[in-house]
Amino acid sequence: MSRLPLSGVRVLDLTWVVSGPQATRLLADLGAEVIKIEGRNRGDQVRRMTFNPRVFATRGMFVYFNRNKLGVSLNLATPEGKEVFRQLVTLSDVVIENFSAHVMERWGFDYAGLQAINPAIIYVSMPGFGHSGPNVDYQSNGPTIQALSGQTFACGFPDMPPAGWGYSYMDHTAGYYGAMAVLQAVYYRNRTGLGQFIDLAQLETACSLMGVYILDYTVNSRSLRRPGMPAGNRSTHPAAAPHGVYRCQGEDRWVAIAVSTDEEWQRFRTALADEVWHQDPSFATLWGRLQHQDALDRHVESWTSRRTQQEVMRLLQAAGVAAGMVQDPAQRAEEDPQLQARGHIVDLRMEEAEGGRVRVDSLPMTAAALPHQEYRPAPDLGQHNGDIYGQLLGMAAGEVDDYVKQGIF
């Protein structure tokens, strides 16, 4: 296989659940050797989220976020386990985890501890609240971070309860920033030989994305907590109308439409051939459309609701208007011609587990350096103990077995 960007970079991956594994999935896809370290008794709790009781526990969500990684079991609470971990650190480039702030410190593996073992180590820690501050011991998951950063509040219709993300967006996004942190630190270390510590507070990552809302407050004293806000599917900045999600034929079928400039509005009108309402001069300018948005939205929805979402998207896109179906997971997996043409959804090579087709999503980019790979399946708990402890650390097979029996591996 051709050289990948992170070929030769070894990552000790102590992460679990979603945010950390999302970070190391990216690193593995980019060619890093990611060694996922799990406790023998518990393992990553996502192993138990299979979505289908009949399938093996290396399927489901765990596969989705842990493909391409190697798996070892290790009990870091034992002195022998700690010693093995020290040996791994000497042979590795990166340590990454998403525990609460003091977990690594209690094991003796805070940055100072890791640096004493390997001076050039890159250590990325991604707890919800970071490693300092009065709330350093607070606990979080994706929805916690989304609520505290304002993302939950910013999603919803006026005069209604907050809707917020319908999933842990921040688990993905903190994971992206975790991978970004590692990549930047590797780039810098290649230049200087220096490692470093990255304190990635997921709450701060989330807040950094809300900068425009923050400036509107710090500069203009205007809070989003005000009547009429959040604006639902309407767009205040940039101003646009019609801008929304409109009902189509069928059960729970919707289409998103975004029209901003008057030129776009004229194109939109050409798709409405048999309609008359759009000739109303009050809709002719963006200013007029913004002033009469309620009436405009009713008209638009009366048009979309008599058509399928496919038809609305096709008619509007043919006229050069930004419009797209709200696609459900089945539509994305089975019917999306763009995802198909670009080969985005790929089969996982599963001969190591029992047969069957297993699909996963590849990186959302193409480049010569990132050939579409044959992704390896996610590891069983401790699957690569022999490779890592035997071949890498040079332990005898009997010794590895003993460590398993003693609960160290």
């Binding site: 596969v63 929805p143 950063s149 920033y177 509107d216 407050y217 203009n220 940039p238 896109q317 699909r359």
Partner: protein, 409 residues
């Protein structure tokens, strides 16, 4: 000056509103990011809100946030002289970030093939709605439309499916695309350190959004089922209980009923302190499985408890007891968070042209060796024309005047 990750990297940024977050990620980590704007200014300068609600190309708070630490030059790429100057700039550049419609730059003679001949090792990333290939390549999109087609919208909204899905916070789709673009470019920079070779990256916002829907795809791929959106909580195949409740002060709180035995006991003690445990100490609630069957009743008790406290009382009270609850804050309310204050999240940025400083959203991550920092407020339009064209490229002041009068810069 403190060391920075990208002190040896120059980035040219040719973006509208889609790609500017990618440039910001480089600029705040020390790259020399030059935003090349049309002589009339980038379209993102026209997006509000504006300083004191006075629209002006140098007063857009959206532009301020997304363009910190960058330089700005003006240049008309559509005229041959402008394109020639751009080629000279590319010859000094490591990374080109662009979000023009597919085919637009090659039509000006500025495609990757042509540019990398001028600068071996050039890394170029195109961030577009659907990528450079496939049947959707030339379709129009927007933040909202990409969230619809890519899948996030399907999972976001309310229990009542008579209401359309709800749009998450502003620019989320642009962020998702830019985060992946940044990962790809830094990976390419790392590869270039080893091989000296450049790279062209084709990033698809559609695929990036599709890859950012957490459980939705694995649930379908592995279980054949479609998750359904719910108010304020994870979309799921089977409906779950509400987790957001209104509080005494009108704010909302994100809650989670604890499962672990110790946590459940602590939760009951807390309810008891307020005399609001009702019947939850009954034997039938002591077994976690049984509790799950009674979850609707427990949720009622929880809702009453929340209604008699302020959101922040509940947030800190729950967190002191090890529970992941959180206030649903407006994005601007993070400015007053004591934890973030102690960590220095919000940073002061000087605007010398206004004689004032403003509070900005700060670091998404804290690097120990190469700190994230806003080097300078967003550039005024063409602020660095003199610096770049005269001092760095060797044009005389008279030539710059002539280029300006000719509409080239």
């Amino acid at each position: 000056m403190e060391p920075s990750v990208f002190s040896d990297v120059r980035v040219l940024e040719l973006t509208g509103i889609l790609g500017q977050q990618c440039g910001k990620l480089f600029a705040d980590m020390g790259a020399d990011v030059i935003r090349v704007e049309p002589p009339g200014g980038a379209e993102s300068r026209r997006i509000g809100p504006f300083l004191s609600d006075v629209p002006h190309r140098d007063r857009s708070l959206s532009f301020w946030h997304y363009n910190t630490s960058k330089r700005s030059i003006t240049l008309d790429l559509a005229c041959p002289t402008g394109a020639a100057i751009f080629r000279r700039l590319v010859a000094t550049t490591d990374v080109l970030v662009e979000d023009q419609p597919p085919g637009a730059l090659p039509a000006l003679g500025l495609g990757y093939e042509q540019l990398q001949a001028l600068r071996p090792g050039l890394i170029m990333v195109s961030i577009t709605p659907f990528g450079q290939t496939g049947p959707y390549r030339d379709l129009k999109s927007s933040d909202l439309v990409s969230l619809a087609l890519g899948g996030p919208l399907w999972s976001c909204g309310y229990d009542d499916h008579g209401l359309p899905p709800a749009r998450p916070y502003t620019d989320a789709a642009y962020h998702i695309a830019c985060h992946y673009a940044f990962v790809g470019v830094v990976a390419a920079l790392v590869l270039r350190q080893a091989t000296g070779q450049g790279q062209y990256l084709d990033v698809s916002m559609h695929e990036a959004c599709h890859d950012t829907t957490e459980g939705a795809m694995p649930t379908y791929y592995f279980g054949g089922q479609r998750v359904q959106r719910q108010t304020g909580r994870h979309a799921a195949v089977t409906a779950t209980q509400p987790v957001l409740f209104p509080c005494r002060d009108g704010k909302w709180i994100f809650t989670r009923v604890p499962v672990e035995p110790n946590a459940w006991e602590q939760f009951l003690d807390w309810l008891d302190e307020a005399g609001m445990a009702v019947d939850l100490r009954d034997q039938r609630f002591s077994d976690p499985a049984r509790r799950q069957q009674e979850i609707a009743h427990i949720t009622e008790v929880l809702a009453s408890f929340c209604a008699t406290h302020t959101a922040d009382e509940l947030y800190h009270g729950a967190q002191r007891r090890g529970m992941v609850w959180a206030t649903v804050r407006s994005p601007d309310e993070v400015v007053h968070d004591q934890h973030l204050k102690a960590r220095g999240f919000v940073v002061s940025v000087e605007h010398p042209e206004l004689g004032r400083s403003f509070q900005y959203a700060g670091a998404p991550y804290q690097f120990s060796e190469t700190p994230w920092a806003i080097r300078k407020r967003a550039p005024l339009l063409g602020e660095h024309n003199q610096e770049v064209y005269c001092r760095e490229m060797g044009f005389t002041p008279a030539e710059l005047v002539a280029l300006s009068e000719a509409g080239v810069v």
